[in-house]
């Protein structure tokens, strides 16, 4: 293993009874990288992240997290990792300041009071420090949780949908921060359902039904999908979409504002299917497939395989 990898695991597997929630997933993330973790609901993202920080015992798998054995050294890993849970998991009957103070004590943060005060100021919650955490709005809870899991300056951050319910401005600030911290050498694994966020990641891992389907930079993942996408402008796109979808070569026909994006895995078949409509008033243009197209493509391909 090279020291460059903050996460380097192979064959991670977790079963719940007969369900294999995570199925032999390999993942390697370099230090200083931001890795987006994508996948539909119930695909095993949370389960995988929990295995990384020792919250669930992996049935199979090996590797390292920050250079420590991911199976055996989970107690050490916990000290150096910041884990933000998907569901708000701070104590609602403690105040904001008390929550931060508790976390700081648990991780032996030096100059604890100052660390807590500074975090409160950065969050802009200094005046509300004595308010109970349970009384915060959803987005603020998210921001508190994020700040709390970073108070001990972890080297690796495992964030499970950190920006769910956060307003656009705060989200943009959050991503700017993430990039600034990554430049300092911090590593991020961020589960998200937002495609705009996924595009801001250095690399992506796409997981579906517990299996890793694609991994790499945004361009890599889009390339691996081998999806061809055409964009069309013209009148009554809804009727056009309905007609196109009857053709098996057309996997998706999705409206984007005034445009319709039509994509399919087989470029030649798709072109044949579209040929009859290459007539005015329709204006066709081949475009790069977007991440969302790719995401849906992976999902419908999996559905096709299973049925």
């Amino acid at each position: 293993m090279s020291d460059d990898f903050a996460i380097d695991v192979q064959g991670m597997t977790k079963r719940f009874g007969s369900l294999t929630a995570v199925d032999h997933v390999d993942l390697a993330v370099r230090a200083g990288e931001i890795c987006g973790f994508l996948g539909p609901n119930g695909s095993g993202k949370t389960t995988f992240i929990r295995m990384l920080c020792g919250l669930l015992r992996a049935e199979e798998g090996r590797g390292t997290c920050l250079g420590y054995d991911v199976i055996r050294a989970s107690e050490t890993i916990k000290q150096h990792v910041g884990y933000m849970t998907q569901r708000f998991s701070f104590w609602e009957d403690l105040s904001i300041a008390e929550n931060l103070d508790f976390v700081a004590r648990m991780y032996f943060v030096k100059e604890r009071r100052r660390a807590v005060r500074e975090t409160l100021e950065r969050l802009g919650l200094a005046e509300r420090r004595n308010q109970l955490a349970g009384q915060l709005s959803g987005g603020w809870k998210q921001r508190l949780a994020l700040a709390a899991c970073m108070i001990h300056q972890p080297k690796l951050l495992l964030l499970d949908e950190p920006t769910a319910g956060v307003d656009p401005k705060a989200r943009r600030e959050f991503w700017e921060e993430i990039h600034r911290l990554a430049a300092q050498g911090l590593t991020f694994l961020i589960a998200t359902h937002y495609m705009d966020e996924a595009e801001r990641c250095h690399r992506l891992a796409f997981i579906l039904r517990g299996r890793l389907l694609a991994q790499g930079s945004v361009a890599d993942v889009v390339g691996q999908a081998r999806l061809t996408t055409w964009s069309v402008a013209g009148p009554d796109l809804l009727t056009l979409a309905a007609r196109l979808q009857r053709d098996p070569a057309v996997e998706q026909a999705v409206a984007f504002g005034n445009l319709l994006h039509v994509s399919g895995p087989d470029a030649a078949a798709l072109e044949r299917a579209l040929a009859p409509f290459h007539t005015p008033p329709y204006k066709w243009r081949q475009v790069e497939s977007g991440l969302e197209d790719v995401f849906i493509h992976f999902m419908s391909r999996a559905e096709g395989e299973s049925s």
């Binding site: 669930l56 104590w91 508790f102 648990m106 700040a147």
Partner: protein, 395 residues
């Protein structure tokens, strides 16, 4: 732009302590958190405080029953045939069970203080002589009356039994006139609780009952609540060791237990005038062992319960046999054999004997030791199971 996240300029963590098997800092962090949470949860706190008071009122009326086979000892100073008759009669009684004959007064007193015998029959040296002269010899019946419900019927049964036995023995010229007084003058001496006040028995007993109920419930709830609310995931993702979490969590509960003990002792002394003969320090020490035993059960239950409701149900599941079979509701010796066997396992049974022993009889450590060690063993076993079962993961 205001930054939400900290700068990563320099490490801000004391790494030296991270790997300790038990870190006082982390332990203390948990204790502080638990105290704050307990303070915020006013309703629960008030319930825990008012429960002992409410029970004191409710249990002011004792439930009477008619126990049998009360262990009886004899101090035999006279070896005449009529004294033997008495012994024989004792053996055949269903109310009293003859346990042993004591040689010395001290031996007999120690046995009654420990509770191995509840009745002590003194047959004086001059018994046969006085009896044959028709002088109505005095026989002293000493009774451990800490639990008056347990002895009332037995005392009158003993009176009839002993006199009938003598009457049967002395026939012919020695016979007593049927209309005259009883051949022996049985003097009853109720020890520890001479007036037979039920509340002397109930009020100290309540201490154990209240602690049993609240200590299991509050620990069970405290840990399942973390799981139910999802905060357990957060706690487990921190580098805390199970011992730090568990011990940190129970410290505030121990304090709460002592508040309850204080309330009951205060009420016992102030409202019910229960005598307090023995050492308070000893009582509080025995109380700690008892509290720990129940906190340990609470931890074990919390590892089994899926949610807070189940934790409460399990607390009741333990509470009911405790209150029924410990000798609190019904005199212990009035229960069938199998019930006594179960009762002997329960910490409450032993604790009731300890509390009554210390408060009413003035027992010292030597006298209560045989009741204390079973509680300690119970606590240790429950704690080992609880800590072993406490999961460090979410599986």
């Amino acid at each position: 732009m205001k930054s939400i996240l900290p700068s990563q300029s320099r490490p801000n963590v004391r790494f030296a302590e991270v790997h300790r098997a038990f870190s006082c800092r982390r332990f203390w962090a948990i204790v502080v958190k638990e105290f704050i949470q307990m303070r915020r949860d006013r309703l629960t706190f008030m319930m825990m405080i008012s429960m002992p008071l409410m029970q004191l009122v409710l249990f002011g009326y004792a439930i009477n029953s008619d126990p049998r086979h009360l262990p009886t000892g004899v101090l035999l100073a006279d070896r005449g045939p009529q004294a033997r008759t008495l012994l024989h009669a004792l053996r055949n009684s269903s109310y009293l069970t003859f346990v042993r004959e004591f040689r010395t007064e001290e031996e007999a007193r120690a046995a009654i203080a420990r509770g191995t015998v509840q009745f002590l029959v003194h047959i004086p040296e001059s018994f046969t002589r006085d009896l044959l002269r028709g002088q109505r010899p005095a026989v002293l019946l000493e009774v451990d009356a800490t639990d008056p419900g347990a002895v009332g019927n037995a005392v009158s049964a003993a009176r009839t039994l002993l006199n009938r036995a003598i009457e049967r023995d002395l026939q012919g010229p020695l016979a007593f006139p049927p209309a005259g007084p009883d051949p022996i003058d049985l003097r009853v001496h109720a020890l520890y609780n001479p007036e037979g006040l039920t509340r002397y028995n109930i009020v100290p007993g309540l201490m154990g009952v209240v602690l049993t109920m609240t200590m299991i419930m509050i620990t069970g709830l405290g840990i399942t609540r973390e799981r139910e609310r999802g905060t357990m995931e957060n706690l487990l993702s921190m580098p805390a060791r199970p011992a730090e979490v568990l011990i940190g969590k129970i410290i505030p509960y121990i304090l709460l237990g002592y508040i309850q003990v204080g309330l009951i002792l205060g009420a016992a002394y102030g409202l019910f005038q229960v005598p307090m003969v023995g050492s308070l320090a000893l009582l509080l020490t025995a109380g700690l062992v008892f509290i720990l035993a129940h906190l340990a059960i609470g931890i074990t239950f919390s590892t089994l319960a899926k949610n807070q409701l189940q934790a409460v149900q399990m607390a009741y599941f333990f509470f009911l046999p405790s209150i029924m079979l410990s000798g609190f509701m019904f005199p212990f010796r009035g229960m069938p054999r199998w019930a006594q066997c179960i009762g002997e396992v329960l910490p409450l049974t032993h604790f009731l004997r300890i509390v009554r022993g210390i408060l009413l009889k003035g027992n010292g450590l030597a006298a209560i030791w045989r009741e204390l060690w079973p509680i300690a063993v119970f606590a240790a076993v429950a704690l080992v199971i609880g800590v072993k079962r406490y999961r460090r993961t979410l599986d």
